[in-house]
């Protein structure tokens, strides 16, 4: 199939652990010169981690890399750059105040610190690169004014300028228009023909099919297959991606589904999501599936008042409400467990009990003064109920494991006794054992009459828990699948962007 002695880069047994959780296990992969190689897989399957290891952003816990049969240690992005490996990030990083031309060369200038920089030449080269890419970007203008697509192009130009042998593109087409995508493909093919290797990470299977020579499928941190693209059909790839057997998470008991608790009508925030209309009933768990960046989190944040929608209506228990801040949302009985725990969830250095009681100011301090007794009792009850493992309630929450931190956040919101609960990727970065506990809890909460909106990228999770699964793609709802009919294939097909509904995220 492949010719091992000609491999540009060989990975052997690459594994990566974060906080004791293995997110990548024993990946072997050979990348050939002059090929475009697709990495596909669900969110969290490990493809981005793998790419970052190649680019020196992360260091593998185990395993080795060799470049042209020479063992290499890619310890930092700078080393990677020197070895000719460039990672183009999903969201381009740049120096917004500097000109495009400078962004192309900065960090690669090998001249003496005080030697004159040959701007004329650099500008000319940059212009030539842009001409090569077929984009009309004024290289003397600062990056700040550029669209995401143009910034992406600059990133690609940068990798060309550094004469990289291996260019890793992490979902490069997500923000691009079809025309820009076409340009990108032309360029990618030309680079391949020059003998460079390109790793192409994408969720868009038709793009993978159109562009890539080979495809490697990741699932749950493992490489499950590497095949010529031509040998696989779309449904083959999807099957490989989600191929794990459906585990017995079927915790959702038939709870009594009641009145509509949360109803959205034509909720729109330009650039993020459009015309979102949905309803969640009491006792119902509604799943919201889709790919990262599809706008699911933005909808959740709009409902909760963190970044309110520009237009559209929100009804809670049949009443039209105005939610401009989380405080309003909480007052209406909403709760929101955010996706990014470290950034928007925990108070890292504060005690667990303070974290748990953060949202129930009035209940722990009935007369303005915090009652230590009440605080401790609420925290203790929650710890017992959710089986949070800790050494002491006074421990900083940063000392707990991810799963227990997440339980504490959930506990915080349960204490507010919400009627509507929005969970955004509640089981991300959590051990498999704790996950099961979470599923039980979510089921119980619904059984208790709460309306639950569950955002998840894990298909089995959605299938196991939800009464209905809504799917978003590029800012719009693309499917509403009842529990009986829901399959992973169906969800995935609705989630994968089609060129037919382009133009929303761009």
């Amino acid at each position: 199939m492949t010719n091992p002695e000609t491999a540009l880069l060989s990975a052997r047994g690459i594994s990566k652990q974060f906080a004791g959780i293995e997110v990548l296990s024993d990946v072997d992969l050979d990348l050939m010169p002059g090929e475009i190689h697709a990495l596909v897989g669900e969110n969290g399957a490990g493809k981005s981690t793998f790419a970052k290891i190649l680019a020196g952003v992360y260091r593998p816990t185990r395993g080795s890399l060799s470049l042209n049969d020479q063992h290499v240690d890619i310890t930092s992005p700078i080393v990677a750059q020197k070895l000719g490996v460039t990672l183009i990030h999903q969201e381009p990083i740049s120096f917004p105040d500097l000109s495009v031309a400078e962004n192309l060369v900065l960090g690669r200038l090998n001249s003496a610190p005080l030697a004159r920089i040959p701007w004329q030449k650099i500008t000319r080269d940059a212009q030539a690169l842009m001409a090569l890419l077929g984009v009309s970007i004024d290289v003397t203008k600062p990056m700040r004014g550029l669209s995401i697509a143009d910034q992406q192009m600059v990133e690609i130009a940068r990798s060309l300028a550094s004469n990289s042998r291996l260019i890793i593109m992490d979902e490069p087409t997500a923000p691009l228009t079809p025309k820009e995508v076409a340009t990108l493909f032309v360029i990618a093919r030309r680079l391949r023909d020059e003998g460079r290797t390109i790793i192409f990470i994408s969720h868009r299977l038709e793009e993978v099919r159109a562009l890539c020579d080979r495809v490697t499928v990741f699932r749950d941190g493992h490489k499950v297959a590497t095949e010529r693209t031509a040998n696989l059909s779309d449904s083959d790839i999807i099957r490989l991606m989600i191929g794990r057997p459906l585990k017995e998470y079927m915790h959702k008991q038939g709870s009594i589904i009641g009145e509509v608790a949360l109803k959205l009508t034509n909720l729109t925030l330009p650039g993020k999501f459009h015309d979102i209309s949905l309803a969640v009933k009491k006792g119902e768990i509604v799943g919201l599936g889709g790919l990262v960046g599809a706008g699911r989190t933005d909808v959740a944040q709009a409902i909760f008042g963190i970044a309110p929608a520009a237009s559209g209506a929100i009804e809670v228990n049949g009443k039209l409400v105005k939610i401009n801040s989380p405080t309003d949302a909480i007052a209406h009985g909403l709760a929101f467990v955010p996706e990014d725990r470290a950034q928007s969830g925990i108070f890292r250095t504060l005690a667990v009990e303070q974290n748990i009681t953060a949202a129930i100011a009035k209940r722990i301090a009935p007369a303005m003064f915090i009652s230590r007794f009440l605080e401790r009792r609420f925290a203790q009850d929650s710890v017992a109920k959710l089986r949070i493992r800790l050494a002491s309630l006074r421990q900083p929450i940063g000392e707990l494991s991810g799963g227990n931190q997440q339980k504490a956040i959930l506990a915080r919101w349960l204490l507010t006794d919400p009627s509507i609960l929005i969970l955004d990727e509640p089981t991300r970065g959590i051990d498999i054992g704790v996950k099961a506990e979470f599923y039980d809890m979510i089921g119980e909460l619904a059984a208790g009459g709460r309306a639950i909106l569950l955002i998840s990228s894990e298909l089995p999770e959605l299938l196991a828990l939800c009464d209905r699964v809504l799917v978003m793609s590029e800012g719009r709802l693309t499917a509403d699948i009842p529990r009986r009919e829901a399959t992973q294939e169906l969800i995935m097909q609705a989630a994968v962007p089609r060129s037919t509904h382009q133009g929303v995220a761009a």
Partner: protein
């Protein structure tokens, strides 16, 4: 970058034994402050035989009590993740406005009200620029520091404005042998200590300073709280300005000049974390005494003021290095 693989997850330590209580107690910035305070008292007594006299120390404290009072509120502002360097200028401008008002014939209570409102207004002005326009507080308050002082200079010119006799001498009022400004400082310490340590308002200040995004998610009205803090700081600064006016019997534009350093120093020395989220009123309370002890000790030993400048500068740097170090050690 994709957030799928979050490297910031903490290692699982929940099974580890909790730290012994004595370590939690000992490895705290406040303990360091207390130790320095004891050391300072000892060093002072060695430097000069005139130093160890409770009345003298209390009297000396009145000279710094105004800054110390403001430093208490400043501590809360810093814990909330902001800073205000304009407080000392605010003191001067409020005092000048007050003195100007009573000079133009306004009755004393009205003048006091005008002076206090001026301070409150300045605090709100800071809050408006910092929170309303989302500009960094540190550079904004460097601007207002210059502006407020400059306005005071315009109002008062280079002359000192007398304040009425009935208003003079708060520092000569003794309650139980303790000068009134010291009493005010102690009472305010207790009140603010309670507010910060036991009320939901105080708790929310810590939440904001630790993680403002998470605090907003948890329904904390972070903007309102910060505005309240800046306004309180403004009002307190004005109050401190009036105290100074009462102590001096006259007001000049250079009242409290350079006080911002002393205030920041008190907060930092007390273990308030410059990046917010940590610190206590007790720490600042102890640090205020420490600063007075150190300065007074040097002055009464007839040390050149040069050495005081050096010691203050070095203390500031050491205190942030030490607090950063202690906090990084105890975070996990």
């Amino acid at each position: 970058m994709s957030n799928v693989e979050n490297p910031a997850l903490a290692p699982s330590r929940e099974v580890a034994a909790p730290r012994p209580a004595w370590r939690i107690f000992l490895i705290r910035p406040e303990t360091m402050t207390l130790a320095l305070l004891i050391l300072g008292v000892f060093a002072g007594s060695q430097l000069s035989e005139f130093f160890l006299d409770i009345n003298y120390i209390l009297k000396s404290f009145t000279l710094y009590a105004e800054f110390a009072i403001v430093a208490l509120v400043l501590t809360m502002v810093i814990i909330a993740g902001e800073i205000d360097l304009s407080a000392a200028s605010n003191m001067a401008l409020s005092a000048c406005v007050f003195a100007y008002a009573q000079q133009t014939g306004a009755p004393l209570p009205i003048s006091i009200a005008i002076g206090l409102s001026a301070g409150l207004f300045m605090g709100l002005f800071n809050a408006f620029i910092i929170i309303g326009l989302k500009l960094p507080s540190i550079i904004v308050t460097i601007g207002t520091l210059t502006l407020y002082r400059g306005l005071a200079q315009i109002i008062a010119g280079d002359k000192s404005i007398r304040v009425p006799e009935s208003f003079i001498g708060i520092n000569n009022v003794f309650i139980g042998g303790i000068p009134a400004p010291v009493i005010i400082f102690i009472i305010l310490s207790i009140v603010l200590g309670l507010v910060l340590g036991t009320t939901i308002f105080g708790r929310q200040i810590y939440l904001i300073g630790t993680n403002e995004v998470a605090a907003r998610h948890a329904g904390v009205r972070s903007k309102s709280i910060k505005i309240i803090l800046f306004a309180t700081l403004g009002l307190t600064s004005a109050f401190a300005g009036l105290l100074t006016a009462s102590r001096l019997g006259s007001v000049r534009y250079d009242l409290g000049l350079g006080g911002e350093l002393q205030m920041v120093l008190m907060a930092m020395l007390g273990g308030t974390y410059i990046f917010g989220g940590r610190g206590t009123i007790l720490g600042t309370f102890l640090a205020a005494w420490l600063l007075v002890i150190v300065t007074t000790g040097m002055i009464v030993a007839n040390w050149l003021p040069a050495y005081q400048l050096c010691v203050l500068g070095v203390l500031l740097i050491i205190s942030i290095i030490a607090t950063n170090f202690i906090y990084s050690r105890t975070e996990r």
